[in-house]
């Protein structure tokens, strides 16, 4: 997916994305030969596709074989109500809802002639962390063709976050732009749209660096 480029979704609707941000939480390698022990770390990265320095990340890895990564999409409910935060969770990054406190999981903004909104805007500001409308998901992303990746020393794994929006539109809840051009509040709709996003992470490429 590239910004400001015209695409056609599986329903034949043309769209382009102008800004795209999402929170990746607690990302770690998924080993095939051992359990990934997750320490409660509360580490987040705001991926912003208009800033290439944010779309890849380095993970510390230990000897073993891995075939992907595990992470959370969005900000865990345990990290949503700790008051004023800095760094990746600084509210000045524009991902925090002020009137209904909470970090959005992702924000997709763009245009489509099929939009029913002013100026043909499409806007999916998807968030909410409270049961039953949580938009935070645990995700396992496999490498392309389930390629196994051997780590022989204590290398770092470099992950590029790939996203393919065809799956986003044609997910468990088909998202026709002409019907749902915008969703900017937490709730049932946000939850459903967030579920569509799970399948959008495909084509993972891992490389290693000492």
């Amino acid at each position: 997916m590239q910004l400001n480029k015209k695409y056609r979704n599986p329903f034949g609707e043309i769209y382009e994305i102008s800004r795209f941000r999402l929170y990746i939480g607690n990302i770690r390698p998924a080993y095939t030969d051992k359990e990934t022990k997750l320490k409660k770390s509360s580490s987040y990265q705001l991926v912003d596709f208009s800033d290439s320095t944010t779309t890849y990340m380095e993970l510390p890895a230990t000897t073993g074989t891995c075939n992907g990564v595990e992470f959370e999409l969005g900000v865990d409910s345990a990290d949503q109500n700790h008051g004023a935060q800095s760094g990746q969770l600084d509210p000045s990054k524009g991902m925090f809802w002020t009137w209904n406190s909470g970090y959005q999981s992702f924000r997709i903004e763009g245009y489509s002639p099929f939009s029913n909104q002013p100026a043909h805007i499409i806007a999916y500001h998807i968030g909410g962390y409270r049961y039953p409308f949580s938009t935070v998901w645990k995700i396992k992303m496999n490498t392309t063709n389930d390629e196994v990746f051997k780590i022989t020393n204590d290398y770092k794994i470099i992950v590029e976050v790939p996203v393919e929006l065809d799956y986003f539109f044609d997910g468990p809840t088909p998202l026709h732009i002409k019907d749902i051009s915008s969703c900017t509040t937490p709730g049932e709709m946000s939850r459903k749209i967030s579920e569509n996003f799970i399948g959008s992470f495909t084509g993972l490429v891992l490389t290693s660096a000492p």
Partner: protein, 345 residues
């Protein structure tokens, strides 16, 4: 020589004053607070920085709307005699500005409880296009350009960096310190004052008819309830449902504290009642039935004219005049402003 000695003396006293321990004093009759400054250690300098920010118009887009424009000390930090408050570009806020006091006891803030932590509360008015209408990065840019702020942030946080977290934590040092717990009611409780016969009678009626929701000593149980107010279709405010998305929360609003009630008129989430009398008459004979109406209000609350007189007498004992005249909480530039007359209706 004398001049230098004076300067040194002022310096020493200034240093001692600024580093005076600044304890957060929990009133004796209050429960433990929700917010206790654990990750935001309260200091005199931090409090003073928060106070300066609270009164600084530069936090708003056009410079005209400091926090204090809607939260006025003489009105117990509500907006005096305004149903809705004025904001950027001749607009109104969509709810009545609540008084600010005893906020450290609130787990959730706002009429609908939408804000989940006191430190992030200022973001709502700062960024709301109808209120202060500013952008966080703009605010930080303005503060960085100021001569004094980087010095003050350095004193409080140990480096001159200004970011949103520091601005919010400093503001919280001020707002969470606003404690109102020395009304006549409190003095009666701790034995230093006595109710007159009307107040006493009013207190008894209050305990019988109001205290279930307006629980002592904070005079709210922090719940959300539909009190039978009709929907104003020019605002379409469904209250708590806006936050939870649940239809059973439709038209529910936070039970407001009754402390300083003589100072915080008008009343209700949209300020529709200008007097306490009107509010009492609503409970007596104005409840609109509906599926989410609070179960205790199905038959209203019978309040006779006599009850009303006594209740209002009692509610007057909740005015904390020391709080609204406390120079610590006033505009650091101008000190205590000329305050508006206490309004009894």
């Amino acid at each position: 020589m004398k001049f230098f000695r004076t300067i040194i003396l002022i310096g020493i006293f200034g240093f001692i004053w600024i580093n005076t321990p600044f304890p957060f004093q929990i009133p004796k009759n209050f429960p433990p607070p929700v917010y206790s400054f654990q990750k935001n250690p309260l200091t005199k300098r931090g409090f003073e920085l928060g106070r300066k920010l609270f009164y600084d118009g530069r936090l708003s887009k056009d410079g005209n709307f400091p926090c204090s424009s809607c939260h006025q000390q003489f009105a117990a930090f509500a907006t005096y005699e305004h149903r809705l408050s004025h904001g950027f570009n001749n607009q109104f806020s969509f709810r009545n500005a609540p008084g600010l006091f005893n906020l450290a006891w609130e787990r959730e803030l706002n009429w609908d409880g939408g804000v989940n932590h006191i430190e992030v509360q200022p973001l709502a008015p700062l960024l709301d296009p109808h209120e202060m209408a500013e952008d966080l990065n703009q605010i930080i840019g303005k503060l960085k350009k100021d001569k004094l702020y980087p010095i003050l942030f350095n004193q409080v946080f140990g480096s001159p960096e200004i970011n949103s977290q520091r601005v919010l934590k400093a503001l919280t040092q001020f707002t969470a310190s606003l404690i109102s717990a020395n009304a006549k009611y409190d003095q009666v409780k701790n034995g230093t004052a006595r109710y007159n016969q009307y107040e006493q009678k009013g207190y008894e009626i209050f305990q019988m008819k109001c205290a279930r929701c307006h629980t002592e000593p904070l005079f709210t149980d922090f719940s959300y309830r539909n009190t039978g107010l009709s929907l104003d279709t020019t605002i379409n405010d469904y209250g708590r449902m806006r936050i939870t998305g649940k239809k059973e929360d439709s038209l529910k609003f936070r039970v407001p504290s009754l402390r300083n009630i003589f100072l915080t008129n008008p009343y209700g989430h949209d300020g529709r009642f200008s007097t306490i009398s009107e509010v009492l008459e609503h409970y007596n004979n104005g409840i609109i039935p509906g599926p989410t109406l609070d179960s205790s209000l199905r038959n209203g609350i019978p309040i006779s004219d006599n009850d009303r007189f006594y209740l209002i007498s009692f509610l007057g004992t909740l005015t904390d005049s020391g709080f609204i005249k406390n120079p610590l909480y006033s505009d650091p530039e101008t000190g205590i402003q000329n305050y508006a007359p206490v309004d009894r209706h």
